[in-house]
């Protein structure tokens, strides 16, 4: 009898509460804290102390010009936008990038790249400007060289004029390596401007912050259910944390790391070795940061056995528009991604790996809800328009 009364009382509570739930989604205290932690957005414009021209308008303009300049590649056929196409959310839509050859990894979208601290799926670079040099020089990507990049900059009146404006000296007075570094820093200054816009989730999050029930109620109910999975039983926000929806670090989530051309992609393990061995890392002479704070991570990062098979935790902003997914582009769409976590093959995880990954066993409705939530992380930023005048101002 007591149970029946409790059931009736609970049912009455549900009936009474139903209109309020429809008006303003009820989140618990912990849920509210977790949701609020994913904002506010947008953040302050990125600024990189290791790059002395970061944020400077003339450097951004030079970087934009360079980003689309095909003459920087070895055969003059491709520029950065070959793979990072603004019409494809600064990616290419392929499972694995295609430069001079098909590459091993998926081309990451460049949205919010200036807010990251490790670059590439394995984090083989510790600054955006050093990362920007790699495709220029990599034989399977643009296949250029420092000498070639320098010669093309020195030989182009418009580029030479812009370099003088930005770096205070004529390219003809800079050596090849100096010009290469300067090119990377200008490219980075431009890419730092690629900050994604506000999303339906941001509107919901801010409405929650100010207690605006009417605005909260405009957030789709299926997305809200998906959000609760994301921050709750899914534990997605353990790694996809904060306003950028990433902790900026690396994880083994059981995606196979065998390469199509043979061998393995060891991910973060090789990335740490690369960054330590790079002449252009933040511990070297090309870091412009006088305070030294930018050196902290590189100085202290530790190579561990568990780094083998770990890959970057990507930001989820605009994720619905940047398929395919994972470091090797193996998953075609968001449904495949959710299925991956739902049916996670624990045998693929390293035995000494983290204990946080378990198969989520989501039903069809939960899967749809999680996808609905992820889709609300897309902005409505207008298509990119080239902004740089044809001649050096």
């Amino acid at each position: 009898m007591r149970a029946l009364l409790a059931t009736l009382a609970a049912a009455a509570g549900i009936l009474l509460a139903a209109p309020a739930v429809a008006q303003a989604p009820m989140l618990g205290e912990a849920e509210t804290r977790r949701v609020l932690a994913h904002g506010p957005w947008p953040p302050a414009p990125p600024h990189d102390p290791s790059n002395r021209v970061s944020g400077q308008p003339a450097a951004i303009a030079l970087g934009e010009r360079l980003f689309f300049d095909r003459r920087l590649s070895g055969d003059g056929a491709m520029a950065c936008d070959w793979c990072h196409d603004p019409a494809r959310d600064w990616s290419d839509g392929f499972a694995r990038g295609v430069g001079k050859a098909t590459l091993d990894r998926n081309t990451p979208a460049l949205w919010n790249v200036g807010l990251q601290r490790w670059f590439g799926w394995g984090g083989g670079h510790d600054s955006l400007w050093s990362q920007s040099l790699r495709p220029l020089l990599e034989p399977r990507e643009m296949g250029g060289s420092a000498a070639q990049v320098a010669a093309r900059v020195r030989g182009d009146a418009d580029l030479a004029c812009r370099y003088r404006q930005v770096f205070g000296q004529a390219p003809s007075s800079m050596d090849d390596t100096g010009l290469l570094i300067a090119t990377g820093k200008a490219l980075a200054a431009f890419q730092e401007t690629l900050v994604s816009g506000r999303t339906p989730f941001d509107d919901f999050r801010d409405a929650l912050a100010r207690g605006d029930a009417a605005a909260m109620a405009r957030y789709p109910q299926d997305a809200l259910r998906g959000l609760r999975i994301f921050i709750g039983k899914g534990s997605c926000s353990t790694c996809h944390v904060g306003p950028l929806f990433t902790n900026g670090e690396f994880a083994d989530i059981g995606v196979p790391f065998f390469l199509a051309r043979g061998g393995v992609d060891s991910g973060r393990h090789e990335g740490i070795r690369q960054v330590r061995g790079s002449a252009f890392n933040l511990l070297g002479p090309y870091n412009d940061d006088p305070g030294g704070a930018t050196r902290l991570r590189t100085r202290h990062v530790e190579l561990q056995h568990r780094n083998f098979g770990e890959f970057k935790v990507p930001s989820l902003r605009n994720v619905a528009r940047t398929a395919p997914y994972m470091h090797n582009g193996a998953l075609a769409d968001l449904r495949d991604v959710v299925r991956h976590y739902s049916e996670l093959n624990e045998d693929r995880l390293h035995a000494d790996g983290e204990r946080i990954l378990k198969p989520l066993r989501l039903d069809a409705g939960e899967t749809d809800d999680l996808i609905a939530f992820l889709s609300t992380l897309s902005d409505t930023t207008p298509p990119f328009r080239r902004r740089v005048a044809d001649t050096c101002p």
Binding site: T238, V241, G242, N247, E249, L296, V301, E302, I356
Partner: protein, 146 residues
Amino acid sequence: MTLAGAGRPMGLPVVGAGVLTVLAAAAAAQACQPSLAGEAVRVLRAPAYAVAYRTEPRDVAVGAPFAIELAVCAAAGAADVDTLAVDAEMPAHRHGMNYRPSVSAHGDGRYRVEGLLFHMPGHWRLTVELRAGARVERLADDLQIE
């Protein structure tokens, strides 16, 4: 995101091993006061040593490097500390940090630890390892990072 005791009042440490021994010896260690005090200071005690520390910045954010200012003292009769190391792990996840902190000694039992970074929210266990001759003492603090 703030630093707070995990399911226990702020400032009460979890000592990793030998709890009874720690309790029995606590009185002796209490006579020793590390030369670091203030609102945000947390104190850990072991049979022969006490450690006081505070983080910089005070609020530790997920994914952001932070440092620790730390002071150690030895109870009467205990040997001076030779070396000190700091590490942290997430026991439930069975992993540590992705970074190895560096320790610099500043004399009079004062140390600065740099290069710490908690890359996930949740329960972290911070460990301070003291070595004095052949003796090794580990003190731990449970922290909840949001």
